[in-house]
Symmetry: D2
Subunit: 440 residues, 4 copies
């Protein structure tokens, strides 16, 4: 079939009724072509076909290398550059790992993993030693499915095809999916980063679900000054407003039973971020945050402060006027800057929104091609997340925390080597915002 | 005045009528307080108060370090790692520098600079030598304004305050603004990157203005398969549709005479990007692109492919089905992936949208504070861009091109060291899309 | 006891009779102070006192992160950026791991480890996939010694004291020694690097022992054009000359029974290195090599080409004159440049020498202090290498190979992106030197 | 002429009489072959043949990018990451630039340059601002010689041939030599680094000439506890001992009139280095120092502490015993460790020796080949350093200081983010060694 320019949509789906895609619509894609239809299991059946996860490094001062893969023995990370003498134990990490793990509720993938972590180096008698911290999480639920069909057909919107294009080897069947498990290392490292931030200046990194498919949490419903982790964790979809949480869960339930998937938006705030984090020019704080969260699987967009909506304002409407607060600190009355001006944090609440597409793996028939370039239909069977957003909450927090600790250390190295200038620079450890009770 | 939580808006201005901000609305901020009102010139008057621009480095293989500042003698960049024997001259760079320079039309800042560049090393007899390329652009229009007030009061939503918070020294009056001139080095380096991409695989990086304030170019008006640089450059606002271009220019003219400013959106596409660029995990192609463009001044958001709108689709609507095209290549019928799957380019058109806020410097009275923490009103006088978006077009192209060349070299080093696998990997230099006539 | 400036010797022991050190001489340090004498076991007895090994990253394009520690469950490395489709299996790595492992002969530490490696990701059906390669070597001989005294007293010339000075925590008892086991990850990664070099251009990295204590192999005894791995591996000390090998082994035997230790020199050559590797200015090839080998434990010096002896020549004696060889290639008649000119390889044999000090852990009484700053005497008991040099041979090869692959990839990315200039650049894969039969 | 293995000397000239090289000996290389003899001027005559200097970046946290070239308008550097509010002016840099500049005495090259530097950004009212510091030194003595022959024939032991092999373009005539001028940027940045070190902890970096050709300063003549800059600068060869200085100067004078060149050794010490600098594994302090100094032009070897001589000691002779000094600090009686144990500074004096080969450019006839692979004789005419070692002194100091500041910032970021442990870690700013009067 020839390429049709008209069928190429840019910046996606116009309306929310979802019927724009000529080919991908439910009516059209369930054609009966039994001879070329593959029943595609979601998880591998054989250890012979191994899935390779990637293990790169994030950060300059506080460096995290994740490793392991869905079908190997374990996953985890190595954290290099952690400050010494920080009280740390597995339980500090487990809280966030539990928020990330599969099978935590009916709206997540039923893969069963406890994701219990083990710290095998870098800790001595409950304190970090300054040498690398190695965190390991064993894989326990590897069903050993047969992956034969998967090794032939490219799953639409997965990493299958691009891995082959890049590496020229037919081995990486599940790049995209294995990444889901790869984020364990990020979440574990992020928990360490969050602890450092909390201890250093009462800084809190808190994310929640603000949109699931068509259910959008209106602005103003959540008060970022007082938002607590408890409010977010009070329901399985991680939306701090109980009413909207119900609607979101209902939306996921509908799509789940249809074998389809939906996406959404995670909002993340940073409370009591020290002023001065970030660098001019290429390493602006918003640039680092954008890279960090856009490296999570399934992300499609990032905005902070006024975001895309800010483009509809004039400068006089958009600018954040300064004032001096009751404690004599320079503050802004509004926060369209999202806590960042000129690439550097200004002490106000940092906020951002991250768009997640619907999970690519669905239990519905789709047209695709084999690696031998034969057109074919396939149905992925088995377990997948109907909506990745609730589990993405701790992932976003982790990436944001990793950026902040890295920038904090960069700032400390350069700007706190010699005594600060108290006229212009703020002493740390004075929280600007009322700290909520988070991971005490 | 005490901090008011209610006045803190998150993710900005809800509707497009612009009247949401209680404090920042035009009616309320022109209070008469003559004794504490500053007349703030936009540009400095004295060489004694120097502005320091930052000069960091971008890229790993193809490394660009920008340097210089608005008020020093010159600005420019050093490009490290450029392939040798590439035909290159100043005119290759000047085209894009002319698209970026101030004073190019009535809708840009009237600062007069020809921005004529000079290559002082790294070129011999019209060919790159492989050693660093140094590009210099002299500053010619430095008015020497008096910047005394500026050194006292923080301009709202500028980098003034955060530079002081970070560095503890009252010298960096115009961080944010000086960044505008800093982008010269980026645009020059980006022109080199674009030339490499064009020569290597016919890859084209093309950006245009798709929104100015409330004027939005509807989807589908621009055909990304055939879009040309000429269409974009046919008008001063750089929107390829003449009708919408007129509306955008009119919108800027209105705001310009009022001394206010507006923002907008730049759309950027990459045609004939080689498949296989980008890396799994932290260095995904979309993550690198997000960081690159979010490091430009005044950016507030980034999305690619289906973007934020994609969150309103189901998986079955969103997935891009594969097919085999008439040349035997694996393609996708739709492109909600935006040319990137699993963090790696798939050969389809890469597309993205970047949000720019309205310019912070405006010719209207605003409330602010001095560095001595005294509340004050100020009016910035002088020259500024009423809408930065038309000049941002070559900046976005430059950052995107820098990412692509860096990733191309990373890919070449790892995956082309040994012969490719022709069954799965595509030989380069076969453009997938009809190449438009760009920078021949 | 007061500090005595006079006792501080710089650049060590002048003559080879070893009697220069007033305090450290055997006669003076065996004073009888039983009440404060510690019996220091060389290896830990308790799992409660854990030793933390560091796990940093080496390389820019071919990146190796080592991890694990002597007393944890395993050691190993993660290799990021390896070219895909390289034939690779555990046996490729095991050869070098066996050359490095303890207990391989009577002149190495009697710790018993088979050091059997396992590749748990990055390989599929005998080929590398392009994603990270994870190599694990389990620790099997952990005796669980009591390390209580060690946690109190600083062992002279170990990392004990400096780890405490840096990290401020009393946990890292055996930094220096644990590093010995840390090199497993280096050697494993180096074996992969050597395979790439061999396959790419017939490049061979070969090291051997050229000095043990006072036994020095004279220049000219070994012919670097024809030297083979077999010659080196024909004896337990890894000196290719049988006669000198015997003398070296005898020297080690003498010192071994006395519980003392000796050092020596490892010479390393690179045959058929592609011309053009290395970069001008900071990343010169010799600078990268120097850093690489000087990061190995116990190294004290590095020289290449004419080395320190070259300082005794005049320019006219030292310069390597060019000529054209029988195959029409530009060569040098002599090789005082050591295969590197202007920081870039010239195709001649790269050669270097690395000095290793005598092992710090000895079975003799030494004066030291406790962490509570009490002066004390201690005797380390147990197992140690009387001379680390024979086992250092594969370590040096590994570090040199890692540098070369990293530089090869950097060079390939920059200079081979476009077709080479055949007039000046040499096509790869034409070995200049007769290749020996190494790791076929 | 066929390749002769026998003529390949490894690790250079055996004895100090200098007559080992069959081909390169003075007697044999002045053969009369007028038809193919080139008169090679040392400096270029035409601006058309430009020399490209490289401009890479050194350091991770304190980053220096040097730029410019011998024949462009200027040379210099950009320093990124400098702590803010450091008092700094051009005169701080000029002292070291004057020690490096050509024409400073009869034993250096007669090229006349004042090397007057200008800081064009990063300083405001005498204080660093935290943003990049740009240092520029104009070139004034460019004679514009004709470089035509040079563009044809490869100068022996220069970078001429390897640049062509790497880049495949015949433009880089004088890589090696242009590097000499490139070091201006290093020395300028090093002066900033030295000022930071001095201010932070009274740390001093001091180098001197300890060998010129056969004239070796015996150990013990210089007391490193009390050595001053004044002693070193009291003579033109920079040897603190007047008697040996005279001998060295005489040796240079002899070789200078013969148009030949000689090499030597620079010794460098660091006094009052804070304990704790450096990292375990790959980034050991000695590894970073080795890379830094081995990136200087003409270096052939590096050793620290006991160095190569330490290989002749036994462990019981070599180990540095600990004691507690009168101020209650843990010290070592001897310093064969060279101030570094386990890759981390221990507070003792860091010491190292760097070998420099004789300058490659000599005024004597040499055999070489043209770029067209024709064998030829050439004589370089004009100006060169008969012995580069006196001018290398500030270069070595600069590279060592850059490493230390980079490591200091890394250490401060990681280990001083939270309060130190006073039991094990030393508060900074307590000099261990009597500070000499250096660059007050």
């Amino acid at each position: 079939m020839a390429s049709s320019i008209a069928s190429k949509l840019f910046l996606g789906a116009p309306t929310t009724n979802g019927s724009t895609s000529r080919i991908g619509s439910p009516a059209s894609d369930i054609r009966k072509l039994p001879s070329s239809t593959l029943q595609l299991p979601v998880r591998p059946r054989s250890k012979k076909l191994q899935i390779q996860a990637a293990g790169n490094t994030f950060g300059t001062y506080f460096r995290v290398t994740t490793s392991g893969e869905s079908h190997g023995g374990d996953v985890g990370c190595t954290i290099d550059g952690c400050p010494p003498r920080l009280p740390l134990s597995e339980s500090d990490l487990q809280t966030d790992l539990d928020r990330r793990r599969p099978g935590q509720s009916r709206i997540t993938t039923p893969r069963k993993e406890t994701d219990t972590c083990q710290i095998t180096s870098g800790i001595y008698e409950g304190l970090t030693t300054g040498t690398p911290i190695k965190v390991t999480v064993p894989n326990t639920d590897q069903r050993g499915h047969d992956y034969k069909e998967m090794s032939i057909a490219y799953r639409p919107s997965h990493a299958d095809a691009t891995y082959d294009m890049k590496y020229g080897i037919r081995a990486v069947q599940g790049g995209g999916r294995s990444s889901a498990r790869e984020t364990i290392g990020r979440v574990a490292a992020g928990a360490v980063a969050k602890k450092i931030l909390k201890q250093y200046a009462g800084t809190e990194v808190i994310a929640y679900v603000s949109q699931v498919h068509n259910v959008e949490l209106p602005e103003g419903v959540v008060d970022h000054e007082t938002l607590t982790l408890e409010e977010i964790e009070s329901n399985i979809v991680r939306c701090p407003d109980p009413e909207y949480a119900e609607k979101m869960i209902a939306a996921i339930d509908v799509i789940r039973v249809r074998g389809d998937s939906i996406g959404g938006v995670v909002t993340c705030i940073v409370r009591n971020a020290p002023p001065g984090l970030g660098s001019p020019v290429f390493d602006k704080l918003e640039a680092e945050l954008a890279k960090a969260v856009m490296s999570l699987p399934a992300t499609k967009g990032f905005e902070f402060g006024s975001g895309f909506k800010g483009t509809f304002l004039t400068g006089s409407e958009h600018n954040d006027e300064f004032y001096v607060d009751e404690l004599g600190r320079i503050r802004t009355r509004t926060n369209r800057s999202g806590g960042i001006q000129g690439g550097i944090s200004n002490g106000e609440i940092i906020n951002m929104r991250v768009a997640f597409k619907p999970t690519a793996t669905i239990g519905r028939k789709q047209n695709t091609v084999t690696r031998e370039k034969k057109e074919i239909e396939l149905i992925a069977r088995g377990r997948h997340d109907p909506c990745v957003v609730p589990r993405a909450v701790p992932m976003v927090e982790a990436m944001v925390a990793l950026v902040l600790v890295d920038q904090l250390m960069a700032h400390h190295a350069q700007c706190n080597l010699f005594p600060v200038n108290p006229d212009l620079q703020e002493p740390v450890k004075v929280p600007r915002h009322s700290p909520a009770e988070i991971q005490s």
